[in-house]
Symmetry: C2
Subunit: 207 residues, 2 copies
């Protein structure tokens, strides 16, 4: 984990946080959600398990901490001045995050959690935070006149992110920059055509 | 699992196969890939573990058997006479399969298997079989003149399936029939527009 607590940079709190987060991802990668044990995380991080229980509360909270820190900080919402530019930058950031092994473990843990209510609740919080961070790209495009006001922002985000997400976690498609640009281009043009060329004006910008 | 061996319908082989497949999915859902044990599967299915080792060989082969049977049989490639009709029917079938809890466990097992070479090999075989089954939809569209001959069939499939796959495994989007139809519509129109209206002719059909 590159993210660390800000209030005591380099201090013991930051070191413990970073060590515990890294240990959680390593344990999750090796044993999966069902085999994730606080004792194992503590041993890997070189801390006492009571430190983890006191600061985080348990394994749900450990994974929640990593996911929500990632949702807040790892993928900053781009603001390039055009919807196309924002979406291409955004989907590239998502792609770069997804191909990291730690994120593969975290995302597949969330994806498999349909039967586990604490994981399902974690997933709801994680995705709500992610979409709240992404939605302003669409809202700015509406304000600039690039999109109709009644556009479904979340559906648009799902359509541009979906092929990359599926490509990485499913068939391991080569999701290079050209693939990402095509994803955004096709969805924007398809959306514009579907709405009789009135809902998307990708050339217009207001920097 | 609804799929059963054909050569002895209703016989002991078919019953054992169905019981072992169901037990494998149940064990995978409860314990994940890392906790999947042949002993546990055998106990759930009411068979001796030597039966499983003799017929399947081990836990990799158990999961491979289920996945490849699903790839072959659960999702038959549609042939409606138009590319749009085929893709809408196909993505609906994918959606219906994905929302089943058993498939959530199987897919998240595959998705998380980046660090596990036997799982990665299983994933390669599974996705190769799935794309081989889907590709003829695109090839027929090329033969009918609906798509340019140089279209990237796999990329087209990733683009129409991706939003549904991400929606189900990520933010749990409501992937209803209207969402599926919009996915196909937007990708086909976006692809046509991108290629100067020459690569997709969605209205043309040859039933």
């Amino acid at each position: 984990m590159t993210d660390e607590r800000r209030r005591r940079p380099g201090g013991r709190t930051a070191r413990v946080t970073a060590a515990v987060r890294a240990a959680t991802v390593a344990a999750l990668t090796e044993h999966g959600w069902n085999g994730l044990a606080v004792e194992d995380v503590a041993a890997r991080a070189g801390v006492n398990k009571t430190t983890i229980y006191r600061r985080w509360g348990g394994r749900d909270a450990l994974v929640a901490d990593i996911l929500l820190a990632a949702a807040d900080q790892r993928i900053a919402p781009p603001d390039t001045g055009t919807l196309r530019g924002d979406l291409v930058a955004f989907v590239r950031q998502v792609r770069d995050a997804l191909v990291a092994p730690a994120n593969r473990a975290l995302m597949s843990t969330l994806a498999g959690g349909g039967h586990d209510s604490s994981l399902a609740e974690l997933g709801r919080r994680y995705w709500a935070a992610r979409f709240a961070r992404a939605r302003p790209m669409v809202e700015r495009a509406v304000a600039r006149g690039e999109l109709a006001a009644d556009v479904d922002a979340d559906a648009l985000i799902v359509r541009v992110v979906g092929p990359v997400w599926f490509g990485v976690f499913g068939p391991r498609t080569d999701v290079d920059d050209a693939f990402v640009e095509d994803c955004v281009e096709i969805v924007l043009r398809g959306t514009a055509t579907q709405a009789g060329n009135s809902s998307v004006h990708p050339e217009k910008s207001n920097p």
